[in-house]
């Protein structure tokens, strides 16, 4: 049985990865006031891969859809996805930060309802670095998963997919039949720039919003964890210059290292 690819790409809006995050005064999060937010870089790679699949296997692709879960401002990154060539987007609006499990449940709900057969997503978001959502989603859907992909190849009849994964010291190639969850690693591709004219065209497109209470009434998104406090790593004391080996030996002895 061969059916066309219906690709879902979940994207997250995060603090720009070039900005050094600072812990806020309440020690329950990072400062966000006036900071630049961008698409999670791994998700950007997932978007790029979806676009490349769409271009290279145009006959085999039914549609590509990007979804984001978060505040109203997520519209910006979704609009960029549209400008780059993703067919459609939607936003699940919430101002509450959600744990990976909650996100996975919401995505699973969407996948089942809209009948996607491939979920292509970043292996982790750079704000919480959890690296959980893709795996949890696969478990909830009872789908195979191929994580940390650096190469994605569908077979001719698009019934299965070969994924090369980056692992310590080398590469591992796995193959799974569809439907499938794929999470993307850094070296999968190089995301494109968004063209100005296309950006202008989608500027006024209304982005469909899904409300938690209306669309996901049965999904339990309550947090299972409580954040006690967030602290910056201890700063390392600066190095010192020593004049000779004797001094080094005595310092090491003082520190009871030898």
């Amino acid at each position: 049985m061969s059916s066309k690819l219906k690709i879902l790409v979940p994207v997250k809006r995060v603090l720009d990865h070039q900005i050094k995050p600072l812990v806020n005064a309440a020690h329950d999060g990072v400062q966000t006031q006036g900071c630049k937010f961008s698409i999670n870089p791994f998700d950007d790679i997932a978007i790029e891969e979806a676009l490349r699949i769409k271009t290279n296997r145009s006959k085999d692709v039914d549609s590509t859809h990007a979804i984001s879960i978060g505040v109203d401002k997520c519209q910006d990154i979704l609009r960029n996805c549209l400008a780059k060539g993703i067919d459609s987007v939607s936003l699940v609006e919430t101002s509450e930060p959600l744990e990976p499990l909650a996100v996975a449940k919401l995505l699973a709900h969407e996948v089942k309802e809209k009948k996607y057969n491939v979920v292509l997503m970043g292996k982790q978001a750079i704000d919480d670095d959890s690296n959980n959502t893709g795996q949890m989603l696969a478990a909830l859907l009872n789908w195979p998963q191929a994580t940390n992909a650096c190469k994605v190849e569908f077979n001719d009849s698009v019934t299965s997919c070969k994924v090369t994964r980056e692992i310590d010291g080398g590469e591992e190639t796995v193959e799974a039949s569809l439907p499938l969850v794929i999470t993307t690693d850094l070296r999968l591709n190089q995301p494109r720039y968004v063209g100005l004219s296309k950006l202008m065209k989608v500027k006024r497109v209304k982005i469909p919003k899904l409300s938690l209470s209306e669309h996901f009434p049965d999904v339990d998104i309550k947090s299972k964890l409580t954040t006690l406090s967030i602290n910056e790593p201890q700063s390392k004391p600066p190095g010192i210059m020593l004049k000779n080996v004797d001094e080094l030996v005595s310092k090491l002895k003082d520190a009871k290292l030898i």
Binding site: Q18, D44, I77, I126, L186, Y193, V194, L196, S197
Partner: protein, 557 residues
């Protein structure tokens, strides 16, 4: 390739950087300063070849820098200057510590001072045996006083990123490097006034200021190695001049050591001070010919909260001007940079950096524009820029473009402008002309130069010596950089270009040096821009304050 800063992805980042560095060809020079010095140190591994009777101790590599005195046999050492003696060394040793002196000995082996004797472009090379790197202003005062008495010629040197051969010796002048005078003295976050030593590296000063929510009012490609004192001495312009004005405005005071050792300081830092002559202005742009700048007091600017960069493509130079007028009007106070690049300059840069930095547009176009906005309110800036871009696209002045979506893209877009100088240099050499012209005539210079090079049968694929004559620059300031990228330096190319370029600029009432200065390269051409009485006044000043002429001799004055 994305660079991620968070710890969890650190390994990926390191790995990717590592992989990249492996794939880079060893000839490719990656980024401004540090790597340049690496290249120099690599050279040291060449086996020295002793040419009998020649001062040069090694050469032969195709990129070995020729001595200025050999390339320009008409320039002679002035015998009025004393040659360095053992007594002189003894004196310097008595006032300086070991770390403050680099001396090669009396022999012909000057390799260890190559970094100081050669200029950044690998075009000029002096033969100095001695580099002094004093750690205090008082020591500089003692040194200059001594050199003045003994008639020892001195070249002040900052980061040595100069582009006209001003910061390297021509013959055996002593190099006085400001490298060790590199402390921030004080910063007042209320007034935004920064006081620092002249040898502070521009990027370090900027990073320090950023921690205090301010920025240095000047930014340029060489920021990783050029010094704050050096940019003042050469009156560097750079990328933000459009927004923050020239150093003549932002420098509030200087501390200068005069040739006789006097320390003249105007570091008192008042924004308004109308008491007599504004003497500090004399040293801004004097290229170290009147005294050595040792301290700088400068008005810095609040750090912008929101920065946007857009990279646009247009069909012709007329459109560049149209976009500029439109940007000034519609972006107004948030416009912080307006740079243009021609197709050939981007083609050269592509060869150099495209492997690591994908080109932002799908096709090539005749001209590109980089617009930067910086302001205090992101939503406000975004809205303004979007409206501007929308109408520019609708009216079809702008035919293609992109806008940076995150910080990485922003930095990568800037690379396409900032890497042009390096890209035009890395295949052998470059003849650089930095001119001011009325905006309407700005690009015509590139066209006539290309025509002239074709007529002289110099331009084309190898073995013809010239790769391309490319144009880019700061439209906002009427400043064009004409770079003639070559496979080698040759007299034939030089004679085709000079004085033709200067004559052309002069005929259009432009300046033959907008921001690079005159130095050694343009020393004979000052009269194309300055009048006789002006030149005479400069000479009078020089004679008065440096009667022995020890400060940076053989240069423009």
């Amino acid at each position: 390739m994305l660079k991620l800063s968070r710890t969890a992805v650190k390994n990926c980042k390191l790995l990717s950087v590592f992989k990249r560095s492996l794939t880079c060809s060893p000839n490719v020079r990656l980024s401004s300063s540090l790597l340049v010095s690496n290249c120099n140190s690599i050279k040291k591994t060449f086996t020295p070849i002793n040419c009998a009777g020649s001062i040069r101790s090694y050469s032969n590599g195709p990129n070995a820098v020729k001595l200025t005195s050999e390339v320009y046999p008409n320039v002679h050492r002035n015998n009025h200057y004393k040659k360095l003696s053992s007594d002189d060394l003894e004196y310097f040793n008595s006032i300086l510590s070991k770390q403050e002196i680099m001396y090669t000995g009396t022999g012909n082996n000057l390799q260890e001072l190559d970094l100081y004797n050669e200029d950044w472009m690998k075009k000029y090379k002096g033969q100095s045996h001695l580099v002094l790197k004093p750690k205090s202003v008082e020591k500089i005062s003692l040194i200059l006083n001594y050199c003045n008495e003994e008639k020892l010629a001195v070249v002040p040197q900052g980061g040595n990123t100069d582009l006209v051969g001003a910061s390297v010796p021509v013959f055996d002048e002593i190099i006085l490097s400001l490298n060790n005078l590199n402390q921030i003295r004080e910063f007042d976050p209320v007034s935004g006034i920064l006081k620092c030593d002249a040898g502070v590296i521009l990027e370090n000063a900027d990073n320090y200021l950023r921690e205090h929510d301010h920025i240095f009012p000047l930014d340029l490609g060489a920021k990783g190695s050029c010094h704050v004192g050096g940019v003042c001495a050469t009156n560097a312009g750079g990328l933000r001049l459009l927004r923050y004005g020239s150093l003549h405005g932002s420098v509030l005071g200087l501390e200068v050591v005069m040739p006789n050792g006097d320390i003249v300081s105007s570091m008192h830092s008042l924004r308004k001070d109308n008491t007599g002559y504004d003497l500090k202005q004399l040293f801004i742009g004097a290229e170290g010919t009147l005294g050595i700048i040792t301290g700088v007091s400068i008005l810095t600017q609040p750090k912008p909260q929101a920065i946007n960069v857009s990279f646009l493509a247009v069909q012709n130079y007329e459109a560049v001007q149209k976009v500029f007028v439109k940007a000034k009007k519609e972006l107004a106070e948030i416009l912080s940079a307006f740079e243009f690049m021609d197709q050939r300059s981007i083609q050269l840069t592509k060869k150099h950096i495209e492997k690591d930095t994908p080109f932002p547009l799908e096709e090539e176009y005749p001209f590109y524009i980089l617009i930067e906005t910086s302001g205090s309110n992101k939503a406000h800036d975004d809205a303004k820029l979007e409206t501007f871009l929308e109408s520019a696209m609708e009216s079809e002045i702008v035919i293609d473009g992109t806008i940076a979506q995150d910080e990485t893209e922003l930095q990568n877009l800037w690379k396409w402008r900032e890497m042009i100088p390096e890209s035009s240099q890395c295949q052998g050499g470059v003849y650089k002309y930095d001119v001011s012209l009325p905006l309407k005539d700005l690009y015509s210079l590139v066209e006539v130069v290309n025509k002239k090079l074709v007529e002289a049968d110099l331009l084309g694929s190898a073995p013809k010596p010239v790769i391309a004559a490319v144009g880019y620059g700061h439209v906002g300031d009427g400043n064009l950089h004409l770079n003639v990228a070559t496979r080698l330096y040759s007299k034939e190319i030089e004679c085709t270009l000079e004085p033709f370029v200067y004559e052309y600029v002069s005929s259009k009432h432009g300046s033959i040096s907008a921001e690079h200065g005159l130095g050694f390269q343009k020393k004979n051409y000052i009269s194309y821009t300055k009048s006789e009485p002006e030149i005479k006044m400069m000479k009078d000043l020089k004679k008065h304050y440096d009667s022995n002429g020890i400060m940076n001799p053989y240069k423009f004055i």
